[in-house]
């Protein structure tokens, strides 16, 4: 239950961090909040040769408005800071809603917003929320920057397109259109425990009350957060109804790929997705009708 030996770097600026990552290459690993990584290192499941600790770089922690009315969140912003930020709660109620489900208060006080996304745990709430909200990730390497949308970020369990010499620096949230509603719903054995399945949704209505846009994501029922293709096919252009939600839930059975493990069987998880999808869409559309 103790980590293997590793080398440790604590840069004090983003530039220095990128230099260090470039030098270390495949030997380096970014340490953000450490609430997943250090646990994995304690078990010796993770054995990075060197850690590049971002905790001494204050410039990476912030929540600031963007020119188009969205928000930019620095990668080292603690989950608890996002959870308690009034601007976040006002503009993106989904983030405030989901925060309570992320582990425990002590973990949220230390765990970071960007770190949780970059960790890409298939059972992690924030990667799935990043996908459902189509967040934009600003990834930095030495002397270079690129932007990736969340659905293109995660390529497998705990795997992203972020290269060893790169780091996630900023998460950009675009403003939500009017008449947009959202919902996160999960089932877990105990509060703060791993979700056996979770569903999240962001929906927008048009002036006639028909579905204009829908994003629906299934979590912990596949190797990555799964963005439903069928939801848009079935719902867009039509008036939202429970019958339609049920159709989406049935179609979801071909989109998800749950596994059996000690947290639940694959069949049970399928059933959860069937039930949670209807509840999630129902609440998201109700919220959209009320104006978000």
């Amino acid at each position: 239950m103790k980590p293997v030996r590793f080398d440790y770097f604590a840069p004090s600026s983003t530039e220095e961090a990128l230099d260090t990552l470039a030098e270390l290459g495949y030997n380096g690993k970014v340490l953000a909040g450490g609430q997943s990584l250090i646990a994995a290192m304690n078990f010796r499941m993770a054995r990075p040769a060197a850690l590049v600790d971002l905790n001494n770089i204050p410039e990476l922690a912030y929540i600031k408005p963007t020119a188009d009315g969205g928000l930019a969140i620095g990668t080292m912003t603690r989950v608890s800071q996002v959870e308690k930020n009034p601007e976040v709660a006002k503009r993106y109620p989904l983030l405030a809603e989901v925060s309570k489900f992320i582990a425990h208060p002590q973990i949220r006080a230390r765990g970071t917003f960007g770190g949780a996304i970059a960790h890409a745990d298939p059972a992690g709430q924030l990667p799935s929320i990043a996908v459902v909200m189509n967040m934009e990730l600003v990834i930095l390497g030495k002397g270079r920057e690129r932007r990736v949308l969340a659905p293109d970020l995660i390529v497998g369990p705990f795997m992203t397109v972020i290269e060893p010499d790169e780091m996630l620096a900023q998460v950009v949230l675009s403003p939500l259109p009017p008449k947009t509603g959202s919902k996160y719903i999960q089932v877990s054995r105990q509060k703060g425990g791993y979700a056996q399945a979770a569903v999240s949704s962001v929906v927008t209505l048009d002036d006639k009350g028909n579905c204009k846009n829908v994003r629906l994501v299934f979590m912990a029922v596949g190797e990555v957060p799964i963005l439903s293709q069928k939801a848009a096919e079935i719902l867009v252009g039509n008036p939202p109804s429970v019958e339609a939600y049920k159709e989406v839930a049935e179609a979801a059975m071909d989109e998800i790929d749950p596994a059996t493990d000690l947290h639940g069987t694959a069949d049970y998880r399928r059933n959860l997705v069937r039930v949670l999808t209807v509840r999630c869409l129902d609440e998201a559309f109700e919220r959209a009708k009320r104006g978000g």
Binding site: M1, K2, P3, V4, R5, F6, D7, Y8, A10, G34, Q35, I38, A39, M41, N42, F43, L51, D53, N55, S80, K100, A103, H104, P105, Q106, I107, A109, R110, K191, G192
Partner: protein
């Protein structure tokens, strides 16, 4: 011999300087380097909450931090609360309301609840339940802990 890193940290108002391996967990540092055995180590992967300490004013897991990361920071452990003759109101309420049996989880609960009560002097029962959802107790069934916390909040906010 592996590389050592200097750490200077303020714990319970006292400054300590040591040299540590990067892989030394903060929980082990407090117990084995500083001799502060009040911080208990349970699961070492962030589940049980026994090792909770107050780091720069926030309750965090000391098993999910490296000692080297505490350099320049301020820590409070359970030793910062009362003494046997002069218990902190939270400790007093825990004793009076039978909020502990074996006591293994207690330091973690106290370190979770201390900043919580500082930030929420008169919490509701629901808020207390949320505050302790990251601490496991296998003896009490939690009800007594919630009762004790609400009792302490009354004592503390009435200035007793």
């Amino acid at each position: 011999m592996s590389k050592l890193f200097p750490v200077t940290v303020t714990v319970n108002g006292q400054k300590y300087s040591r040299e540590v391996e990067a892989r030394m967990l903060l929980s082990d540092f407090l117990r084995h380097e500083l001799g502060l055995m009040g911080t208990h180590v349970g699961c070492e992967h962030g589940i049980c909450g026994a090792c909770t300490i107050i780091f720069d004013g926030e309750a965090v897991r000391s098993c999910l931090m490296f000692a080297v990361q505490a350099n320049g920071h301020n820590i409070r452990t359970v030793e910062s609360l009362g003494t046997p003759d002069n218990l902190h109101p939270l400790q007093e309420s825990f004793t009076e309301k039978h909020a502990l049996q074996c006591g293994f989880c207690t330091p973690g609960f106290l370190m979770t609840l201390t900043p919580f009560l500082e930030q929420n002097p008169r919490p509701t029962e629901e808020q207390v339940r949320e505050a302790i959802d990251g601490n496991i107790c296998r003896c009490t069934g939690y009800e007594k802990i919630i009762e004790a916390t609400l009792d302490a909040s009354k004592k503390m906010s009435s200035g007793k």
